[in-house]
């Protein structure tokens, strides 16, 4: 593992692109494996989100983000704020794969003295920038971090990970309007649109389309991609970083929950899944490396 990862590489050459995508695919596969193994420890949890979001996290942690696995507080790092605290299992999986957390901690997931609680907490986990769990609080903090970094003349980017359900909260849109008001070109919001929230499909609970138009009307640069297409994600993250316009950027990622494990992909009520003890082995077995 390199001690400092440099993100924001220019768009790779054709076959270099293939190599990059193959590397990202391997990372995404490992992230899914880590998440499944943590899911098995508790027998339940927000596992389907982690599987759906793994490709986005692979591109984030192995292409876009600048960080130092040995020093999570490295001043020049890009900040990655998990606004959706319940996605902690997904972020832990990425942090393990990134070498920020040791793989051995998987076994402790969600137990009493663990550094890996069910909801993401800055006070517990290296690499966890904020304490989540109350939805709608991440983007406002991100706006503040962007303003703070600019005042320090820092060139770091701030990524904020949100979900479609979280777009219901007014505070998210209050932050969105302030981000464009202050032309926060160091802010990249990433929205996981899995069309699921606690009470059902997001589009049925509270309709949210047209999503690109909504963000655009708030003054943001918008990209919308298939969040399980590594090449498309790779390109979208590069464009977001390299954009010259003085605007905040949002990458809307349409993902499939449970992605990679066929019997979990089609599950209803996927928000919080329970899996029978013997099915975890099956899930790990079904999981395939996709290129």
């Amino acid at each position: 593992m390199v001690s400092e990862r440099q993100g924001g590489s220019a768009t790779p050459q054709a076959d270099g692109g293939n190599r990059l995508t193959a590397e990202l695919a391997r990372r995404a596969y490992n992230i899914r494996r880590h998440a499944l193994r943590m899911g098995e420890v508790q027998g339940q949890g927000y596992v389907a989100q982690a599987l759906g979001f793994a490709d986005v996290l692979a591109v984030l942690y192995f292409q876009a983000l600048r960080y130092n696995p040995a020093d999570p507080h490295w001043e020049e790092r890009d900040r990655c704020l998990l606004s959706i605290g319940h996605y902690a299992i997904a972020l832990y999986a990425a942090l393990i794969e990134a070498g920020v957390l040791p793989e051995t901690e998987i076994e402790s997931y969600g137990s009493d003295d663990s550094r890996l609680p069910m909801s993401g907490m800055a006070s517990y986990t290296p690499g966890m920038e904020i304490s989540g769990g109350s939805l709608g609080q991440g983007l406002p903090i991100a706006v503040g971090v962007c303003l703070g970094l600019k005042r320090k003349a820092s060139r770091s980017f701030v990524y904020n990970l949100l979900s479609d359900g979280e777009l219901n909260e007014g505070s998210t849109w209050e932050a969105a309007q302030s981000a464009s008001h202050w032309q926060l070109d160091n802010l990249i919001a990433v929205v996981d649109v899995n069309n699921q929230q606690a009470d059902g499909p997001s589009s049925q609970v509270m309709s949210f389309e047209p999503l690109e138009a909504r963000w655009q009307s708030f003054g943001w640069h918008v990209a919308r991609v298939d969040g399980n297409d590594l090449a498309a994600l790779s390109e979208a993250f590069d464009s977001a970083r390299n954009l010259q316009e003085p605007k905040p950027r949002v990458i809307i990622c349409d993902t499939r929950m449970g992605r990679g494990v066929p019997f979990l992909e089609g599950r209803e009520k996927a928000h919080f899944i329970r899996v029978d003890p013997d099915e975890w082995a099956l899930a790990l077995e079904q999981l395939r490396l996709e290129a």
């Binding site: 009493d112 769990g133 219901n168 606690a198 009470d199 609970v205």
Partner: protein
């Protein structure tokens, strides 16, 4: 008696009370209420399943309004519905009902005097694994400081049903906050015993010490009183389900009859039931009062009963405190 003996005795007495799932009762009680009250409209913010309201949604789809994850909007909408004569019941988590949407509760509901029933589920440590964002130990203090707001903390499934009924039947236009748990809790109340908002219920008589409690701490006080009685200490137990308006007479009559008092609640020791009791006594009764609650910290993340135990919110800790504390002659 050693602390291990107290704990063993408390476990034995505890086994006597059946466990009932609070949110399931909430859903059942809401259906029953909606059957009686054609004007009832329930609101939730993407927590229909989590508050036990899914059966209600199936039974009365047109009377359950789901606003998505937008608690401020929900509470404002509830105020608007109430102003049109609806009995609006907000079905949310205590954390978000009492914190995220507090101005809507204050201005839109309480100041404007509209009859909204604000339900805060998963309160206290009942969702311990949810961590600091979902554990709620400041809601009673906040709600209590809002003029026109009534605050009720039911102690089991039976009292939850009674409190909902009473909240709906209350005359006048003003909001009420019901602080409600989540998972399995001990059930102990007598279904035939009358319930009245603002009137405490005396569950045990005793002349040495008075235990005043509400919510899931009432059963802990009952178990503690039984253990204390076995050791020759008479403990009275007062179920102070209504924190506001507090039953002043009940507090004063306890104070006149006992030699010490312990107030127990699953809430920060600042601003909750303990504070409300001390406001009634105003230090003028010359006898010791101790508060058991969350000592102004963020508790760790963990399962409910283990957390309560580790924080001293349990029968054995009440017994130990009662035995150690000074008593008025």
């Amino acid at each position: 008696m050693t602390s291990a003996e107290i704990q063993a005795r408390s476990a034995a007495l505890r086994a006597f009370y059946p466990m009932r799932v609070i949110r399931e009762q909430f859903g059942r009680s809401m259906i029953a209420l909606a059957e009686q009250r054609g004007d009832l409209v329930a609101l939730t913010a993407d927590l229909m399943y989590a508050t036990g309201m899914a059966p209600f949604g199936e039974r009365f789809p047109e009377r359950l309004i789901n606003l998505g994850i937008a608690e401020q909007n929900m509470t404002g909408v509830a105020a608007g519905l109430a102003s049109c004569g609806k009995l609006a019941v907000v079905c949310g988590y205590a954390a978000f009902t009492s914190l995220r949407a507090i101005e809507q509760a204050k201005v839109d509901c309480a100041y404007n005097e509209v009859k909204v029933i604000l339900c805060g589920l998963s309160a206290g440590l009942s969702y311990g694994v949810g961590g600091p964002t979902h554990q709620t130990f400041e809601d009673v203090a906040i709600m209590r400081a809002i003029p026109n707001m009534t605050v009720v903390v039911p102690s089991d499934t039976i009292e939850l049903d009674q409190a909902l009924q009473a909240a709906a039947a209350r005359p006048g236009d003003a909001p009420i906050y019901l602080r409600i748990g989540r998972g399995p809790e001990h059930a102990f109340n007598d279904t035939a015993a009358p319930f009245e908002i603002g009137r405490a219920r005396k569950l045990r008589e005793g002349r040495d010490i008075s235990l005043i409690a509400n919510g899931p701490m009432v059963v802990e006080a009952l178990i503690a009183a039984d253990i204390l009685a076995e050791h020759g200490i008479g403990a009275s137990v007062l179920n102070m389900h209504t924190v506001k308006p507090i039953d002043r007479e009940a507090v004063l009559s306890e104070a006149a009859n006992v030699r010490g008092m312990i107030v127990v609640e699953e809430h920060n020791i600042h601003g909750g039931l303990g504070s409300a009791v001390l406001e009634v006594l105003r230090g003028g009764h010359g006898f010791p009062v101790e508060l058991i609650g969350i000592e102004d910290i963020y508790p760790p993340i963990g399962p409910t009963f283990a957390l309560r135990e580790s924080l001293g919110l349990c029968a054995s800790a009440i017994v130990a405190r009662a035995m150690a504390m000074p008593r008025r002659n």
